[in-house]
């Protein structure tokens, strides 16, 4: 139990700035705290730090941006989910070997695939940009939890109105397909964008309060 608590305490301490993390871990070791006490102390400190971060205008601004961008991304993601599901069903359910020898079939397939890829690319780039903007808006010190809150705000409108295409059959399959598309084209790029923002901040030498 104590080992597990120390393991969790280690994970929680990662939410602190490097210097503070070392000093606090050292203090806990020196005081001879048990794993459970150390975990409680670290959770308390992290909660105070995160709460203090929200006194600043930056996380609120990031949250507002994330909500707005989430609503915008819903409008972009719905056509992609519908279009890709419809064409996937159309080609898979109506596949005939004879079509493979038809040049028109391949031209049409190429055109439709290109359209889906382009829509998907546009959505991915928009999500990546949303992640970068949110990451740049959040204060550096409490970026992990604030970033997670903003990611939830970004994804909430998407997950609240998951578009389901009836061609995919059972409801569970429709929902699963839409969620996978949202995860791949919205959530993943947004998280990458958020992580990228920290590198950009360092690159520009931008130190936030």
């Amino acid at each position: 139990m104590s080992g597990l608590c120390w393991l969790l305490a280690d994970r929680v301490s990662l939410l602190l700035a490097t210097e503070e993390r070392d000093a606090v871990r050292g203090d806990l070791a020196e005081s001879g705290e048990s794993g459970r006490e150390a975990l409680g102390e670290l959770l308390g400190l992290v909660a105070r730090r995160q709460a203090a971060g929200w006194k600043n205008w930056r996380p609120w601004c990031a949250l507002l941006l994330a909500t707005g961008m989430g609503l915008k991304l819903v409008r972009q993601s719905a056509p992609l989910i519908h279009m890709s599901a419809t064409y996937a069903w159309m080609y898979l359910a109506n596949w005939r070997m004879a079509d493979a020898g038809n040049a028109g079939f391949w031209r049409l397939l190429l055109q439709e695939s290109a359209q889906i890829l382009l829509t998907g690319l546009l959505l991915t780039v928009s999500s990546l940009a949303a992640g970068v903007v949110i990451g740049m808006s959040v204060a550096q010190r409490n970026s992990a939890v604030s970033g997670a809150v903003c990611c939830v705000a970004l994804m909430a409108p998407n997950f609240a109105n998951v578009p389901q295409n009836p061609v995919l059959g059972p409801a569970i399959l429709r929902a699963l397909y839409a969620l996978l598309m949202l995860a791949a084209a919205v959530l993943l790029p947004a998280v990458c964008g958020f992580r990228l923002s920290s590198s950009l901040r360092t690159w520009f030498g931008h130190r936030l309060p």
Partner: protein
């Protein structure tokens, strides 16, 4: 004006002198009040005192006792000494003529 916990930390740091750092200040305030404060309260208050210019902190050397981790050392500034002295004087002045030992437990 200082808060009472801020004053406790300043007093502990003053008493510890060159050996004032997180764990030592925590232990010292625990000895004084009979209750060990939380790490969260300690570090956020140290930050606040530093932001007010009442203390200076820096990362000290690592020791084996601390698992090879450095200490956050604390030193009181001139402003800090002045603020602590002002708080002490105010408490002493406010306490003049009051005997808590005899009035404790008596309903107003």
């Amino acid at each position: 004006m200082l808060g009472e916990f801020e004053y406790l930390l300043l007093s502990a740091a003053a008493k510890l002198g060159e050996n004032a750092y997180g764990a030592a200040i925590r232990a010292e305030t625990g000895n004084a009040t009979g209750k060990v404060c939380s790490i969260g309260a300690l570090y956020t208050t140290l930050d606040r005192l530093e932001a007010k210019g009442l203390i200076e902190t820096w990362m000290g050397a690592a020791t084996a006792q601390r698992g090879g981790r450095p200490k956050r050392m604390v030193r009181i500034t001139g402003e800090g000494r002045k603020a602590a002295a002002g708080f002490y004087t105010a408490v002493m002045r406010a306490s003049r003529g009051v005997s808590w030992e005899t009035t404790a437990g008596v309903a107003p």
